[in-house]
């Protein structure tokens, strides 16, 4: 085992040494070394990712097809049955979100992103928060306190008010926010700028910090990323 490991290490070192000029070397590495993770490639750039085919595993896809109905049902059970067994909205929402993660890992995150639209995720999170606030505010409108379940106009108001808060409030908030975190983390940082004004704002900050020097792009970037350094040096010298 150690012998093969050292062999891989020297291989990786060779790739590192020849990385500046050789273009064909990473290609062969990606072709043959797929059963073993690349040792020293660092971040896979987007071209490389486009070049590698998406490895769909029959085992994972078939197993996920079998497991997800049960896991989803169990997540709903934990959510709806929180009054009589361990669990509740938070745990059940997390399990339901985990089912979506499972599907995304088996069938690809991009495909899942198209299947589960942004509208659904946002509607779950926002709707949950609104329902929780609404259930809390109905007794206020009827002259009581916030979340005073006795005043709700439903049969057995305390029990079903609590269940409504757990199921429609907490459960949907947690499920929606966790799915959203998953998708947005899988997409990563948007350096092109999701905000229209982000670049303009950055430029303003960059111009303000080094107005006295010769502003190149690299310097302004340094000044942004570490604003304390140059300012402290300037303050300390005189």
């Amino acid at each position: 085992m150690s012998g093969s490991d050292s062999g891989v290490d020297t291989d990786a070192a060779d790739t590192d040494a020849a990385d500046t000029d050789a273009v064909s070397k990473p290609a062969t590495d990606g072709g043959f070394g797929r059963d073993r993770p690349p040792r020293s490639d660092g971040r896979l750039d987007s071209e490389r990712r486009q070049g590698t085919p998406y490895t769909e595993s029959q085992v994972i896809m078939s197993t996920v097809k079998i497991v997800t109905p049960f896991a989803f049902t169990y997540g709903l059970f934990v959510t709806f049955h929180g009054g009589g067994s361990p669990g509740g909205g938070f745990q059940g929402g997390a399990i339901v979100a985990a089912v979506v993660f499972m599907i995304a890992f088996a069938f690809g995150i991009e495909a899942t992103r198209q299947w589960l639209a942004n509208t659904v995720v946002v509607a779950l999170a926002v709707g949950g928060a609104l329902v929780f606030a609404g259930i809390g505010l109905v007794p206020v409108a009827l002259g009581g306190a916030f979340l005073q379940y006795e005043l709700l106009p439903i049969p057995d108001p305390v029990k079903y008010g609590m269940e409504g808060v757990e199921i429609l409030g907490i459960g949907t908030i947690v499920a929606g926010v966790l799915m959203g975190l998953f998708f947005v983390l899988a997409k990563g940082f948007s350096d092109a700028g999701g905000f229209a004004d982000a670049d303009a704002f950055d430029d303003e900050v960059g111009d303000g910090t080094d107005g006295d020097g010769e502003p190149t792009d690299a310097e302004s970037l340094d000044g942004e990323s570490n604003p304390g350094g140059p300012a402290a040096a300037d303050g300390g010298e005189p």
Binding site: D9, R39, S40, D41, G42, R43, G83, G84, P86, G87, G88, F90, Q91, A94, I95, A97, A98, F101, F105, R113, A117, N118, V121, V122, A125, G128, A129, F132, G136, F146, L147, D156, V158, K159, G161, M162, E163, V165, E166, I170, I173, V174, G176, V177, L178, G180, L181, F182, F183, V184, L185, K187, G188, F189, S190, D191, G193, G194, F195, A198
Partner: protein, 196 residues
């Protein structure tokens, strides 16, 4: 050895005498996984060992009769935290390194050791696990009242859920809003406008 939990001694009894075998082994497991999570040089290995840590913590919570906490630990750690950490790792660069373990930063280790010693000094005043004399348990106005009156007041059997959704409902509303705000904060930090 295993019957020690049922016959929990009075306040001030030595703590070691009441640690059962399963508690001790789970505790060793949890401490070892926590140490190796901190010491692992490869971040992916640290994430995997952290998953093992959560498994031990869930079993420990279960043994202490806190099934709601154990289920939260199970759902969040096994289902969510590992996946989100892996997704974040996929965006990072892996540095090549030979060592399997991080070299220990001695001042930081000394500070952590001092903190640990300071916390251990307070252990003598903490009531034993499962002790009936523990203030959090024997308080007739809070804990005992919840246990006695939950079903009559709310018609649900799970006291934890009743405390969360009814007796402390306003706090839970704040927590739910915090979760909601976390999603918005992730969007802002990552410069995105939509989740999907």
């Amino acid at each position: 050895m295993t019957g020690a939990l049922a016959s929990a001694g009075p306040l001030g009894a030595p703590v070691v005498a009441q640690v059962t075998a399963i508690e001790a082994s789970l505790f060793v497991f949890v401490v070892l996984t926590a140490l190796f999570t901190a010491l692992a040089r490869d971040v992916l290995a640290a994430v995997i060992i952290f998953g093992a840590y959560s498994l031990g913590m869930a079993a420990l919570y279960t043994f202490y009769r806190a099934p709601d906490v154990a289920m939260t630990e199970a759902a969040i750690s096994a289902g969510v935290t590992t996946v989100l950490l892996l997704l974040t790792l996929a965006k990072t660069t892996r540095l090549d390194h030979e060592a399997a373990f991080e070299s220990v930063n001695l001042p930081a280790a000394g500070a952590a050791g001092l903190l640990f010693a300071g916390l251990m000094l307070t252990m003598g005043d903490i009531p034993a696990v499962g002790s009936a004399d523990a203030p959090i348990w024997s308080n007739p106005d809070v804990t005992q009242w919840y246990i006695a009156e939950t079903y009559a007041e709310t018609h649900v059997e799970n006291t934890v859920m009743a405390v969360l959704a009814a007796f402390r409902g306003f706090d839970t509303f704040g927590e739910a809003v915090v979760v909601f705000a976390a999603g918005i904060a992730a969007l802002i930090v990552l410069h995105r406008e939509v989740f999907a």
